[in-house]
């Protein structure tokens, strides 16, 4: 087919319909390649990310979140105050630095600066125990974000394992496992959280200087509670996904090859419900932050002097009329974080799983 010799074909007669081969050029390798009808190679992930960055709300939220994260990482290195210590000048406690307004200096500090000393401004003022409020809000944000992230990861891991086993096994195993989920689902979570924090506070004890002890037993019990209660939603979601993915023939193909169930779940099923997992984890973080704030607000969250956004808002309540800005800062921070995480979650959903769009 490919090697026609131009000289061997009969000469073209006038008016004949014969094709004149001498007028044709051979296709170059490059031109042959163009004939390959293939779409641009994109992976599922690249595709989703491209869609995500087309969504202005999501992009703004990502920027806001990155800014917040940048600030909470960098600020403690720059600001020379600590979240737990009262302000002091030259080793002497500054008793006048109480409830300062933003960027206000206490009398002692003014005197110190007149003498030529340098003093870092109190960007958000100070609280009634003479502590720099800015650094407390920063630490509060840190705690809230960490709690949100860890709680979501715990929920994700437990929910994913449980949901994939139930969904993959199906039949009676599924029925039994899902009834347990239903029971846990029907418990009133706030009541359980409050009861558990009370009980766990007495049960748990940590070495006095460890990180966990600093966070406080309440915080740890919060993680436990999250792990115990909120995985059920994730488990249900993943089970439902797996039930539908399981029907695809590529799962049967994997079985016919002799692939073991664990590998089928890891290699075939989970990557195909990855979008749902990413999205619901992203949406889980703000809800965990919210619960943490709420619990800290009612006094069941982190232990003093460790601040969290909720406990800061709670202590601001007392002097609300005189110092309203003390409530504004942590509240604004919660709003910003929760809102931007929610918008990112929505953006992820639209980008990775347009089917879920309502």
């Amino acid at each position: 087919m490919n090697n026609y010799d131009i000289n061997k074909t009969p000469k073209k007669q006038l008016l004949s319909m014969q094709i004149d081969l001498s007028k044709f050029e051979k296709a170059t390798e490059e031109e042959k390649k163009q004939q390959d009808v293939m779409s641009e190679s994109t992976t599922f992930f690249k595709d989703g990310m491209k869609n995500l960055f087309k969504n202005p709300l999501a992009v703004i939220s990502i920027i806001v979140l990155l800014l917040i994260i940048g600030v909470i990482v960098v600020a403690p290195m720059i600001v020379p105050y600590s979240y737990e210590e009262m302000l002091s000048i030259d080793g002497k406690r500054d008793k006048g630095a109480k409830n300062l307004a933003p960027f206000e200096y206490s009398k002692a500090e003014q005197a110190y600066m007149e003498k030529g000393g340098e003093r870092f401004p109190h960007i958000f003022g100070t609280d009634e125990q003479c502590r720099d409020y800015f650094i407390r809000v920063i630490y509060g944000t840190r705690v809230s974000l960490v709690v949100g992230l860890f709680a979501s990861i715990i929920v994700l891991i437990i929910g994913m394992i449980y949901g994939s086993i139930a969904g993959y096994a199906g039949g009676r195993v599924d029925l039994f496992m899902m009834r347990i989920v239903d029971i846990i689902y029907s418990l009133p979570d706030m009541l359980v959280i409050i009861l558990l924090s009370v009980v766990l506070t007495n049960v748990l004890s940590f070495e006095s200087n460890s990180f966990l002890a600093k966070m406080g037993t309440n915080m740890v019990s919060l993680f436990i509670v999250f792990g115990m209660l909120y995985w059920v939603g994730m488990a249900r979601l993943i089970r439902a996904q797996i039930l539908s993915i399981k029907e695809n023939e590529y799962i049967l193909a994997a079985k016919s090859i002799g692939t073991k169930p664990g590998r089928i779940i890891r290699k075939h099923i989970l990557p195909n419900c990855l979008s749902v997992i990413i999205i619901s984890t992203a949406l889980q973080i703000p809800s965990a932050i919210f619960t943490e704030s709420y619990l800290s607000f009612i006094g069941l969250g982190v232990q003093a002097p460790m601040p969290s956004l909720g406990s800061l808002a709670n202590s601001a309540r007392e002097g609300l009329q005189s110092y309203p800005y003390k409530l504004v800062f942590p509240a604004l921070m919660i709003c910003l974080i929760v809102l931007s995480l929610n918008l990112i979650g929505d953006g992820l959903r639209d980008a990775f799983d347009p089917k879920l769009k309502r």
């Binding site: 293939m38 599922f44 023939e249 590998r263 195909n272």
Partner: protein
Amino acid sequence: MADLTKNTNIDEPLVKVEHLKEYFPVRSGFKKLTLKAVDDVSFTVGRGETLGLVGESGCGKTTVGRTLLQLYKPTDGKVFFDGEEITQKNINQMRKRMQMVFQDPYSSLNPRMTVEDIIGEPLDVHKLYSNRKERREKILDLMKLVGLNAEHATRYAHEFSGGQRQRIGIARALAVNPDFIVCDEPVSALDVSIQAQVVNMFEELQDKLGVAYLFIAHDLLVVRHISDRIAVMYLGKIVEIADSDELCDSPVHPYSQSLLSAVPIPDPKVTRARKRIVLEGDVPSPLNMPSGCAFRTRCKYATEQCAKECPTLTDRGNGHMVACFNK
């Protein structure tokens, strides 16, 4: 590639299916019913042979293939592979020797995996390579074997056309160097222009590798072209089984006759001479099968005996088996 030394029982057929049954429990409202998707099916497939399996859609062809490969647990009956019964025991090692090509080239390939990983999965599972380089070489060889461009190894399956996807599926089945492949309507989802290419490729692969096929299709023309023998199925039962040419030239069972009469023949003289037999009525629901012979409700030769008893396959000479009282 088909290694004769591993065949322990040369005289035995490669695959022997005996009285295979697959019943699905079905719930309709509060009632529990059984759907007899495959009901007492027996056949053999010899080494390097192709057995065609035809029948209308919904008659249980796919279920036969999957139950044979133990992807569904058989309700009853036995399957022997190379003389060994595989119905009861753990057959993960046997999976290396029997494979499947699926009907739908879209849902049978994982959209999140590259071609390389799809074809490489059987190699991974059975640890058929010693290092990454060998794995890659094997994959590229397989791609060449089925006519895929090796440059596309890192592409995702969704970037390929239906015919190319089916080739990927075939390469995956061939990766373990099997003796037997169940091809479940491998061309019916493809364009007519591509069907012939893929069917020819199946034939070439058989010549090269000596692999045996159970070739399922609802198109007799395709099956006749590739099969040595053909089995005709109706509502979960095999009603006729014979050599390919014999069955196509002189079908005995009324159902086979009607199936064949629907096949277009390129010769106009033959077409004119032949009368088209149109079946009356619909296929009965597999949940509510007629008593006796399942085909009697649409059969013009049906008698009282057909309603009482179910005909069994009897030999009409030359291994031509038919299950009918009246023909």
